[in-house]
Subunit: 339 residues, 2 copies
DNA sequence: CTGAAAGCGCTTACAG
DNA sequence: CTGAAAGCGCTTACAG
């Protein structure tokens, strides 16, 4: 039989209210009483019953906030769906979710959104931050006020955020390179189309990919271009790149824009091996059509879901994440195991 | 604000107990009263609060049973870990888990284990059944007594089990074939080592694999052998097969035994492409060593987890699975994205 | 600093 | 066939 607050109270010779105050750091307990209660709880291996807790939480008004910097984007829709699924499961705790989405890289907007959530008194926030000091400072300010903050899908430098939840970008690049180890054993001459060289995640992917290629015989990165996540720019950049370097036999799309790039390759009649990231509808079509051979995905749904789980543990159970990085799995999809 | 039993009771002009009886088919409610209560609940979009439910369930003694036919097997350990994780999360409902493991294909033992669980009055069972009519009959007998039964990892013919949770074996074979489409573009001449031709799942994998190869240029299945899931037999069978057919350029392990097979290939100095299933420690080592190029996994943890979720929904919320087949994802792993 | 009591939503044994 | 009351485990506003 699991241990309850009532049993601890009886053993300690105090009321249940006092046990609650002692175990949840609510103050107003004589130090030695608190120590005794903690000892008894530890000895009996007490873990609070979530159902009891949930019921009592009904009377509170707890909300989490989520700030993602990519409005109406298929990938982030999936992240948000994961977050909503988690908070729906926590609905019995009466936990709500405030969603703020942004477009482009508008720092002012993101600062405002954080401030809005602060005013709305959310208990915790998961954010896809723009990697700038102003944002890091604002995040730390919220942390100081007791709002738990974690980063989601992209990380930020110089902040005290609890942890990062998202893609292991470096490993994602290594995995893309590993696929080429198998698909291009005679040697890889790769053109990389990234989103932006300002994006931490994209760069980490490129590092992993390049490091991997360095280990393969007769393989190298030949050229690199930016798509700014746009299909038309990707088309133009890829076209120019393939014309510059007729020896390229492989394209690696480290971000969005694969559709335009694939079109360019097709127009030139180039017989390339093409690896991309994620499995948006567009990517899936290109895989079915044979323009992309494989794609490395990052479990967007689970990113949102895990983020909310971590916030829940921190806010409701006071259990902080022990790891700084909560990485998703790198999922390889080819035509035959698309979902 | 979510709707509660209390609100429905007030609107219907009855007590909360009556609402409970009406909505949960406990009988003893006048038909027209029941109808009115149901109407009100539907109109307000009532969904029971899980926390309240959980707390009330504390006083019941609910246990699920799980019968897996593979004692001390690394793969099934992972399935069991998933099942335990789920029931631990349901611990607040006071739900326990009775585990029965068996070895080999001992029908009598499995029948006994089912009977044991019946006597222990479990509410639901997930089973990896031996595919024989006696087992199907026993499962149906339990269903008639109100015990919810689902199949886990392998299915059975001719039973009324609620649903199957596990690998999509056919798709797993197709995915293995798809990998060869990319790794052996010049044509696949495959030797297949299966576990047993009596195993439904293994056969489905072989079907998927063969169907896929039929679509590839200059590709075919050259030979097939059984390992009976043993490494030594796999070694002998693979050795003989490769000697019989020096033209084989590909090995597909549709079940356990890959280690022995890989050893045989290495001894003959054959330069083969090798695809396996699952990612046990042994398989992972062979992938790292370069003996296996890729493996197709089936989310064993999630199989156990989902099975318990489905039983929970059926027993606690009375919600039966709508789909007959709950398939896992086919996860491709290569050296670079091993876990 | 501490206790008694009420309440979160659902279920059930009991009385009628 | 129905209602009133108690209880599951946790939290909190209130009184002292």
């Amino acid at each position: 039989m699991p241990v309850t607050v009532r049993q601890i109270a009886e053993l300690a010779g105090v009321s249940r209210g006092t046990v609650d105050r002692a175990l949840n750091n609510r103050g107003n307990v004589k130090p030695e009483v608190e120590r005794r209660i903690r000892e008894i709880a530890a000895e009996l291996g007490y873990t609070p019953n979530r159902a009891g807790k949930a019921l009592a939480y009904q009377r509170k008004d707890i909300r989490f906030g989520i700030v993602v910097n990519a409005q109406g984007n298929e990938f982030f829709d999936e992240v948000l769906r994961g977050a909503r699924t988690a908070t729906d499961e926590y609905a019995d705790f009466g936990i709500g979710l405030e969603i703020r989405t942004g477009q482009g890289y508008d720092v002012e907007q993101q600062l405002e959104q954080l401030e809005e959530l602060r005013i709305q008194r959310v208990s915790a926030i998961a954010i896809t931050p723009i990697n700038l000091p102003e944002i890091a400072r604002k995040m730390d300010q919220l942390m100081e006020e007791g709002i738990q903050v974690i980063t989601l899908n992209s990380d930020i430098e110089g902040s005290r955020r609890l942890c990062y939840v998202g893609c292991n970008y470096y490993q994602s690049g290594v995995t893309a390179g590993g696929l080429l180890r198998l698909l291009r054993p005679a040697g890889v001459r790769a053109g990389i189309i990234t989103g932006s060289v300002k994006m931490l995640g994209h760069n980490r992917r490129i590092s992993g990919f390049s490091d991997m290629l360095r280990q393969l015989p007769d393989s190298q990165v030949v050229d690199l271009a930016e798509s700014l996540d746009g299909s038309q720019i990707a088309y133009e950049q890829t076209l120019a790149m393939l014309q510059r370097h007729p020896d390229i036999n492989t394209l690696y799309f480290a971000a969005a824009g694969a559709a335009g790039g694939a079109r360019a390759a097709e127009e030139l009649g180039a017989r390339l091996t093409t690896i991309s990231c994620d499995d948006t509808r567009e990517i899936a079509q290109l895989i079915r059509a044979g323009n992309i051979q494989a794609t490395v995905c990052q479990e967007p749904f689970r990113q949102g879901y895990r983020a909310m789980q971590i916030l829940f543990e921190a806010v409701v159970n006071g259990v902080m994440p022990t790891e700084q990085y909560c990485y998703m799995d790198n999922i390889i999809r080819i035509r035959e195991n698309l979902q």
